[in-house]
Symmetry: C2
Subunit: 221 residues, 2 copies
DNA sequence: TCCTCCTCGGGACATCTGTCCTTTCGTAAT
DNA sequence: ATTACGAAAGGACAGATGTCCCGAGGAGGA
């Protein structure tokens, strides 16, 4: 898993006496890790926790782009293109990163095939999923997106029980490019049709086959 | 410009006697270069022409993702992630590519830092622009998107005369995630307000400052 | 010239979706 | 226990947007 990444960096750190330059950085839940518009200082390799990436319009509106689990890399676009930070990255739970300062990359890692392969895979993955969610958000109405979202998540983990927690609703809404209000509207329809039911602070899906059907086969992966 | 890419590949081709494996491939306007779901056979480096990339939903609906000018690379996601072709790539005008078979990449280029840097930059660029258009499409109403689109294009070339040709309308609509009908609706508003005017088969912007204003500062780059 | 076909602009309509606001409910402090 | 605050669900409304469709005009063939 994430050890691959760590291994590469670790090897470098000993073979080049750079161990003291590579740091572990930790963030509390909800803490901003990167802020759009600021200067990037290096690569961040997530080895523990979960963060989300959100992109902001000049107008202030915001779109949640994706959740990231280990292994994930922050800072790649910025360092490769030499620009400012593109998106806000916020810890969704306590997060631990291996931090590699930019100058180490410029001096050493830039010419390391293994390290570059890691970056390439990460970028290819991000680009593929970004393309998909862009397309899904643009083309499918919200109920399809919501169903597709649930099906996508459900195929990862397999506890097909209660995915939507009321707390997540706002984030879920942002992730599929809509509002909490509208999610509620759809959920109301579903509960009326007994596809789902509400409980204290969670929404339970009763008929996955219906949700599957609503999703029209659309997925986020 | 695109010679950088060609140079790397060219160097390899002589130093490794691979010249005969690297081919020039040409496509006619409107010809499919890559078709989603098929197997990828190598990298394609655009050295001449223009193509567009469109992504298709299972449902058949389609979203135009971007136009590509030289230098641009096709096949990166697929080869790096080892999957099938993700999107349709269609020549918008006659196109010339340098084609590098997959096995040459696997055997040689995979370990070449310069080649990998090219891929990294290309991927970073695509990811950045994909993120932006995803966000803009999701958050801004269509009139803002259209204005932003025009402003983005206008800042590239500088003939601020007649950007929207009636022929392009369908594509333009797909590119900003809407329908031709709706573009027409907006254009009607603009002509009523004398922001634009229609001519035979083109739309001329009369007041760029108004378009600028409508765009709310949103851009696709 | 006339007919046919095709495309384009735009009318009519339905519906999707966001915003604003009210009501309800639960929690925590007094 | 009571009160006050805040969060959540959902009603009402307006606006944005897609679909369907029709009439007009242009291009090409008979």
């Amino acid at each position: 898993m994430e050890l691959n990444q760590f291994t590469v960096i670790y090897n470098y750190s000993i073979s080049n006496n750079l161990g003291k330059e590579i740091r572990i950085r930790t963030y509390k839940s909800q803490e901003y890790i990167l802020t759009a518009g600021e200067e990037i200082d290096g690569f961040y390799f997530l080895i523990n926790g979960r963060y989300f990436v959100s992109s902001q319009e000049i107008t202030g509106k915001e779109l949640l782009l994706r959740y990231c689990l280990p292994p994930a890399v922050m800072g790649d676009i910025e360092i490769l293109e030499g620009g400012l930070i593109q998106s806000n990255c916020i810890a969704a739970e306590p997060c631990t990163f291996v931090f590699v300062p930019k100058w180490i990359y410029e001096k050493e890692l830039k010419y390391d095939a293994v390290f570059m392969q890691i970056l390439l895979k990460e970028l290819a993955y991000k680009l593929r999923t970004c393309t998909i969610s862009s397309r899904v958000n643009a083309l499918s109405p919200t109920n399809v997106r919501l169903a597709a979202f649930l099906c996508t998540i459900a195929s990862d983990s397999d506890s097909r029980a209660s995915y939507l927690l009321t707390n997540n609703m706002e984030e879920t809404a942002a992730l599929i490019g809509t509002t909490k209000r509208h999610i509620n509207r759809i959920l109301k329809q579903w509960t009326d049709q007994e596809i789902a039911e509400r409980e204290k602070d969670e929404i339970r899906i009763l008929q996955w086959d219906k949700v599957e059907e609503i999703s029209e086969g659309v997925r986020f992966e």
